[in-house]
């Protein structure tokens, strides 16, 4: 643990540089390397940012779930920090997913919003995990806060498959789905390459935000401890 803590600033710096390099590379690949989609044209470019963001927001909520279980099991505040940072990063990424989706939806679907299964699922998860974050701000005692938040984190994450299946059954949906077969990604190879680079970029960005947030949370705890010692 101490090794991780001592080397966190260096790790964060390396991640920051790598994210910046990959972000520039992604932007170049999306606009210059990947071919223009024939039907959709420019709006299709959002897809390269939208899909990786959508995957990473689920990773954020998964961290909340793991952190919540970890805290209730081990009663160690490290787990609680993992949970809150996962939720915050997940919420920010979900907002970005919905925003990029809306900018794409307006020219393609003719509306910013439809009650499509994927949109609805993301929105419900956004509300659940925003509630989780609001809950945290409503408890003073840090042990109780961690405990209540952990229960809510597990209850919220258990809802993910239920929301997913019920909403999918509820409406057929018009959201495009990639038809992937073995050896055929369902798109132009150059597009697929650009998507893969974008995916790496957003994995890096996710962990950069996550680790910086985790460091901040650790520092806050240190400050609190020093205050009470004096």
């Amino acid at each position: 643990m101490k090794f991780l803590k001592d080397n966190a600033p260096i790790a964060a710096d390396i991640l920051a540089v790598a994210t910046a390099v990959f972000m520039a590379l992604s932007a170049w690949m999306v606009f210059n390397y990947a071919p223009m989609e024939e039907v959709m044209g420019w709006p299709q470019k959002i897809f390269y940012f939208h899909v990786p963001l959508a995957i990473m927001c689920y990773v954020g909520f998964l961290f909340t779930f793991i952190g919540s279980i970890g805290f209730l099991w081990k009663k160690d505040f490290v787990w609680d920090r993992v949970a809150v940072c996962g939720a915050e990063t997940g919420v920010v990424f979900t907002i970005l997913v919905l925003a990029t989706g809306m900018f794409w939806g307006k020219p393609i679907w003719g509306a910013y919003w439809t009650w499509d299964p994927r949109l609805t699922t993301s929105l419900i998860l956004l509300i659940i995990f925003s509630g989780y974050l609001i809950l945290r701000s409503r408890v003073e005692d840090e042990t109780l806060r961690a405990k209540y938040a952990a229960v809510m984190g597990i209850v919220g994450y258990a809802d993910v498959p239920l929301v997913h299946y019920s909403v999918k059954l509820w409406s057929r949906g018009i959201h495009p789905v990639l038809e992937k077969k073995a050896g055929d990604p369902g798109m132009h190879p150059d597009m697929y390459m650009a998507l893969k680079v974008c995916f790496v970029t957003f994995v890096l960005l996710f962990f950069l935000v996550f680790i910086q947030r985790l460091r901040l949370e650790t520092l806050k705890d240190d400050v609190e401890r020093l205050k009470t010692q004096r």
Binding site: I127, G131, L135, V151, A158, D159, V163, S166
Partner: protein, 232 residues
């Protein structure tokens, strides 16, 4: 969990808490009167907001009913642990030689009985007011109402045990509860609506499965998680 052997058996403990809550409700009648009035009020407001004519009522009836149950239920759910907390009753319950999860199941069953009672009163009123027979297929509709109420109370009782400890708890309870019950609400509205419109059962089985999954998952989770909430 091992301390249950020394004291009451699990079912005895659950039953003691259920009867305690019911006795308290019979004396005060706070939860049921408020729930019923609120549910009735929701239906009246729906009438103004949605213009329920005889043509559209079959499509909207299930939604209006479940929203009424959900909103009135989430209000009364807040009260459930407030009584225990205000009078220091929860500490006494924790001192009792009783499995912690028995407290949860006792409170949950009491809440479930309140919800079901509200349904038994509201549905005939709804049937008369909007001239639509909700209980056309009696057994399946009863099953749907019970399963929906069970899922709602299973997760609601757990969340109200959390929200009672928060600042601005009256607002936090529904805020945390309503998005989580979204899948159960969708399934319940689909089943009830389908039964009112006379859809074949095959089209509703998938919804019954989702509702059953919701009930089982949250009862199991609450059973595991509840003792973490109330331990001091």
């Amino acid at each position: 969990m091992g301390n249950s052997k020394a004291g009451l058996s699990f079912t005895h403990g659950v039953w003691a808490i259920v009867t305690k809550d019911l006795a308290m409700e019979l004396r005060g009648k706070e939860i049921l009167t408020t729930t019923l009035m609120f549910a009735l009020l929701t239906l009246v407001i729906f009438n103004f907001a949605m213009d329920l004519t005889s043509l559209t009522v079959k499509d909207i009836a299930a939604g209006a009913l479940w929203v009424a149950f959900l909103f009135s239920g989430s209000l009364s759910m807040n009260r459930s642990f407030l009584y225990e907390k205000e009078e220091g009753c929860l500490s006494a319950l924790m001192l009792a030689p009783l499995d912690r999860s028995a407290i949860y199941f006792g409170k949950m069953i009491a809440n479930l009985i309140f919800t079901l009672t509200a349904m038994v009163v509201i549905i005939p009123v709804f049937t008369v007011m909007y001239n639509v027979n909700v209980m056309e297929s009696f057994i399946l509709q009863s099953l749907a109402l019970f399963m929906g109420a069970l899922g709602f109370n299973a997760v609601g009782t757990l969340i109200s045990a959390v929200s009672v400890n928060l600042r601005a708890r009256e607002m936090m309870g529904p805020l945390l509860l309503l998005p989580v019950v979204a899948p159960a609400l969708i399934a319940a509205v689909k089943i009830s609506g389908g039964l009112i419109r006379g859809e074949p059962l095959e089209e509703l089985t998938a919804w019954f499965q989702i509702l059953a999954a919701f009930d089982v998952i949250y009862l199991a989770l609450a059973w595991i998680l509840f003792e973490h909430i109330i331990e001091e």
